[in-house]
Amino acid sequence: MAIQTKITEHLEQVTNGNGEDYSSKDFSSDQDVRWCPGCGDYTILKQVQKTMPEIGVPKEDIVFISGIGCAARFPYYMDTFGMHSIHGRAPAISTGLKVTRQDLSVWIITGDGDSLSIGANHFVQILRRNVDVNLLLFNNQIYGLTKGQYSPTSPEGSSTKSTPHGSVDHPFNPLSLSMGADGTFVARTMDRDPRHMQEMLKRSHEHKGTSMLEIYQNCIVFNDGAFELFTDRKTRPREAIYLEDGEPLIFGKDDDKGIRLDGLKPEVVSLEDDSYSKEDLWIHDETDKTKAYLLSQFFDAPKPGETHMPRPFGVLYAVDRPLYEKGVQHQIDQALERKGKGDLNALLRGNETWEIK
């Protein structure tokens, strides 16, 4: 910040750590973790605590901001700065914080209800503005904290406390919605794959802009096994595909399957017979918006005739676009250059004054 304020003074005085020699323990707070035994949130907490020491940010410069929900209790367990705010508003709160404190590493923790139901407006707005924060969307396809109502990501027909005969709403596809909102970083991982999650967390941190990382999280109490197809060792090879930038789309156990593009239509091909080789496959390109959208569409139940597509994990889309807060800052700096630091006396005086004697 070009202007000296109490904040800049304060930050000059405090000599912050260099954020190197941390262990994951340094990031666990003194609060007992209060999720249900076996909840997917535990492993996410663990991976985040493992990743923090590696991003090289002093922990006093890290802020976790959450809305409301089981997921949203997350900040209490991180020994950083944190705010457990109100339902759905974390992106708006984070925008105010990040715009004024660009020195901070801001992480949003939110659930599928928190950010795709009550908070969906703030969710799409922060994506289009591209504020440099990391948004971790814990998607368990259910409202956990309120004891099991369906959420905007619950599949049609979900029978839950509020839908005893099955839900009738068509669910959101969170990644397609993020693409539609012009997000600059759109990725997916799962609670049951710690290594991949850590990698995705690092990528989210590294990306300059709003990093939308969807995490498939198992709610063992109200929606157990929602993602089993992807998390279960047996079915995962068939149902999940891991994306690597610049690499062909290959999956299946012992990589026996690939995906190629027939015009606009993706199709699964076998790499066992010789009809297709790696060269024929779709090469993943994180910067290709159309491909990213197509990948986000590996989601709907396949229509008759269509081959069934595996669910993509990894970074679907990552591009740079000017940061909202930098744009704001730039205008302030410009104004300072053009007009010089504001002269309050002149402002108070205005253009036209007169004397009373």
């Binding site: 304060h10 609060q31 900040p75 705010s85 300072l336 007169w354």
Partner: protein, 621 residues
């Protein structure tokens, strides 16, 4: 030939015309000149509800009222002495606001059949031709024609010429009220410096209008209004909106904090966002949020980071902020919420004024959720009270509601503006870093003797902590469901709010005596009307005094004692009775409301009647 010159103590002029006729500019130019002449004054513009209603129609009329004098002037005037009407629609819309026997200056070319139709005027002949205006003194001038003639030489286009006609009227009025042209001329030259021909044309027409007064016989006399005995000093004219903008910038300056302003546009609050967005070189961050909830939330986020977080809206938008304001109450972070009130309920009448959001400010949140409330009493006072709102929020770590309204925001008055050396310091201190040495846990909810917790901002080593909307444990700030802790925290949050009373000025009697028969207790924008009414009633010999609140939550410590010194407590409000309820509840005294709910300020005359009417009924009680 000579005209007499009569002296007047006060005059009210109302400029009315089509939105396109430039009446707002005309009015403010006359205002500046008049201010420079040393008169005291108040102005009030009135815009059509529609952005740009069809030309010539009644809803399309835009007007500007100026009340000036050599005595203290505190209202734009109930009714006007001179009404300028550029067309028949303007006459229809404003005639009721002209004093009987008053003067009408009518632009005859605005009264042709086309205009009569547009304004769908009932009568079959122009009101200038029948006896509609018999009780008034009407001056018919074909301003449009005279303007064009005076520009016959100029090679400006038809439209441009036509646009100069308001300058003719202005010149004429300058002559009538013996005002100099120079400040207006220099304004025009500055404004049109890139279009010298336009500048020239406007100046020419302005002078033409002035000479027209001098040379024609139409005016029996001209008037002069002496300097007012204003406190010596340097003055400027200011609107409530501008004063609010300056107050916020000043508070940021005096607290040495960045100002973060998160807002979503809404009438009549939007202009504050517009004004602040021009102050970037003061390090002001403005954020036009997606809605009011995001606006207040972003301000809370900024406050968490150590900035002065401010949000603004009007009634409906404030209703949406309730939940988040409750969060700020629980987080005990500074937050300033500006409510530029308008007529409700619901969307109501956005362009009309009202004071009906006081109860919402006090109680519009779930649970026991105490916030502070301040209210400005005049356009210039918006500066002082928004500064106070920021000071209280920052020094007491609490949300503060600032209750202005459309009448104050758009009105203007002369302001003896301060300079930085005149401004209070705002004392804030961020909790210092902790060296990892002392391992003991940092306690974010420890309170000082004002019951205020520390401001512990991210980036400070050793202060890592978590806050949130769940009930906090005393001292630690951890989540707590303990029954006694909850009661204690509820009480502490309230005690903190009430303690503010030790840090605001004691209530003074604005006018009158400390112990008397009747006191008129007001708050906010009714100040001018009440002060004037009470002043006049006292000169009529009535034992009535005036107390005006700027601090409403908490009340000044001495308020109860003060009020108990009177037999009758009358509370005029532009609502259906809100402050009066707080007074009855808090002090368990009989207070009588005087209420007007018409989207308009009190007129001095009607208020005097109401006060007189209210008293006996009380005395014989």
């Amino acid at each position: 030939m000579s005209q007499t010159s009569t002296e007047r103590e006060e005059v009210t002029i109302r400029f009315a015309g089509d939105s396109g006729d430039g009446m707002q500019l005309t009015g403010s130019l006359f205002t500046n000149t008049t201010a420079l002449e040393g008169n005291d004054l108040r102005t009030l513009p009135e815009f059509p509800a529609e952005i740009r209603a069809p030309a010539g129609t009644v809803p399309g009329v835009s007007s500007f009222q100026l009340h000036f004098g050599s005595k203290e002037i505190l209202t734009p005037g109930d009714k006007c002495d001179v009404l300028v009407v550029m067309n028949v629609a303007a006459l229809i819309a404003n005639l009721s606001l002209l004093n009987k026997g008053g003067t009408i200056i009518a632009n005859t070319s605005g009264f042709d059949s086309r205009n009569l139709n547009l304004a769908n005027y009932e009568g079959d002949v122009s009101p200038l031709e029948d006896d509609t205006l018999s009780q008034y003194n009407v001056l018919e001038i074909d301003v449009t024609k005279l303007t064009k003639e005076s520009l016959s030489e100029s090679d400006l286009g038809y439209k441009d010429k036509e646009r100069c006609k308001n300058m003719f009227v202005l010149g004429l009025l300058y002559w009538m009220y013996s005002r100099p042209l120079d400040s207006t001329i220099s304004f025009l030259e500055k404004k049109f410096k890139d279009k010298p021909d336009i500048a020239e044309a406007n100046v020419k027409v302005l002078k033409e209008g002035y000479h027209y007064g001098e040379t024609t016989e139409v005016f029996s006399s001209r008037y002069s209004v002496k300097e007012a005995s204003l406190e010596p000093g340097t003055y400027r004219n200011i609107t409530g909106t501008d004063a609010t903008v300056l107050g916020l910038v000043s508070a940021a300056h005096q607290s040495k904090l960045p100002l973060f302003f998160g807002s979503y546009p809404i009438t009549p609050a939007s202009d504050i966002l517009h004004g602040l967005s021009k102050q970037k070189h003061f390090g002001v961050y403005t954020f036009q949020a997606e809605d009011e909830i995001a606006a207040v939330s972003s301000a809370i986020g900024a406050a968490f980071g150590g900035s002065l977080g401010v949000t603004s809206s009007s009634g409906p938008g404030i209703a949406l902020k309730g939940e988040a304001i409750g969060l700020a109450v629980m987080l005990e972070l500074p937050l300033v919420v500006l409510n530029i009130q308008r007529a409700g309920p619901s969307t109501g009448m956005p362009t009309k004024t009202e004071q009906a959001d006081l109860m919402q400010a006090m109680y519009g949140r779930n649970g026991e959720s105490p916030a502070a409330i301040v209210a400005p009493r005049s356009p210039a006072d918006c500066y002082n009270m928004v500064f106070e709102a920021c000071r209280i929020a920052l020094e007491h770590m609490i949300p503060v509601m600032f209750l202005s309204d459309g009448y104050l925001a758009n009105g203007s008055e002369p302001w003896k503006f301060p300079q930085t050396q005149d401004l209070k310091e705002i004392e804030i201190k961020f909790e210092p870093a902790r060296t990892n040495g002392d391992g003991e846990k940092f306690l974010p909810y420890v309170r000082d003797d004002r019951f205020v917790r520390s401001w512990s901002i991210p980036g400070t080593k050793g202060l890592e902590h978590r806050v949130g909307g769940l009930e906090k444990e005393d001292l630690t700030g951890d989540v707590s469901y303990d029954p006694d802790n909850h009661e204690k925290m509820v009480m502490q949050r309230e005690a903190k709010r009430d303690k503010i009373a030790d840090f605001i000025p004691p209530q003074e009697v604005d006018n009158g005596v400390e112990n008397g028969e009747t006191v008129v207790l007001g708050w906010g924008s009714t100040y001018g009307s009440i002060r004037t009414a009470v002043h006049e009633l006292r000169t009529e010999g009535m034992d009535v005094s005036h107390i005006h609140l700027q601090y409403i939550s908490p009340f000044p410590r001495n308020l109860e004692e003060l009020l108990k010194g009177y037999d009758n407590v009358l509370v005029p409000e532009i609502n259906n009775g809100q402050l009066v309820r707080l007074i009855r509840d808090k002090f368990q005294m009989k207070a009588i409301g005087i209420n007007k709910i018409k989207g308009r300020p009190f007129g001095v005359e009607e208020l005097k009647q109401e006060i007189k009417a209210a008293i006996p009924s009380k005395s014989n009680a």
